[in-house]
Symmetry: C2
Subunit: 140 residues, 2 copies
């Protein structure tokens, strides 16, 4: 039952994405958002709110630092997909965004494979610039 031992380490870009969201007018309302399923718990990195637009979103940060991009991409979209299934099971309607650095978006995500996956899974993306710590693009 020692679930807390399984809480994942923050992604390297976690704080970068927090800064980028705050700069875009979002308020961070939660971090390590816990999803409680019957047999296990999952954590999503960030919950953010934009009161002016009555919007609350969830954000999972993936840095794509791994050089074997297909493996990393597979792991990132698998995780996203698992969270989507968990959120649906919980009847949680906040949209989930995968936060990725602009290099990853311009790389594998722009390829035939990446575009195919984005369409098929309805993957929502928050593209950020790790240097300026700004949101570059919202997709989905």
């Amino acid at each position: 039952m020692l679930y807390y031992r399984k809480m994942p380490a923050k992604d390297n870009y976690h704080d970068t994405v927090v800064h980028a969201l705050v700069r875009s007018g979002w308020t961070i309302t939660d971090e390590q958002v816990t999803l409680v399923l019957p047999e296990r718990r999952l954590w999503i990195d960030i919950e953010a709110e934009k009161a002016s637009e009555s919007m609350i979103i969830l954000v999972e940060v993936k840095g794509f630092e791994n050089p074997s991009q297909v493996e990393y991409f597979a792991s990132a979209i698998g995780k996203y997909f698992i969270y989507i299934v968990a959120l649906e099971w919980l009847k949680e309607e906040k949209p989930l965004y995968l936060a990725v650095p602009v290099d990853a978006y311009e790389g594998i995500l722009k390829e035939t494979l990446g575009q195919g996956v984005i369409q098929k899974i309805d993957l929502k993306l928050l593209v950020f610039d790790p240097l300026t710590e700004e949101v570059v693009q919202w997709i989905g």
Copy 2:
């Protein structure tokens, strides 16, 4: 362009699944099946044929040795999903099965999360027994 350097190592259970398929009357027609996309190549572990039923299938082997099961599960289904997208892009109609040991099937795949993912992604499974090297169950 040195694509061959990226060809993945065989999963620990690769030979086990080959044996299980052969015992069930399948003929292995290819291993490390190459999918050529515009920007990159992917490899699927096994292609097998059952002439008596005019069936050809593709099989990706995942051993689920990793103790952090959610991470491993995410990576396995992400990979499966990427292959499905690639196969559709290539207009390849052979069904793709994820081969998993019976312990994994009785574990995370039987949970709320696993069942939700199986339904949502239409995940096809070949459940094998690593000890007897036999196919236990086909799902999907």
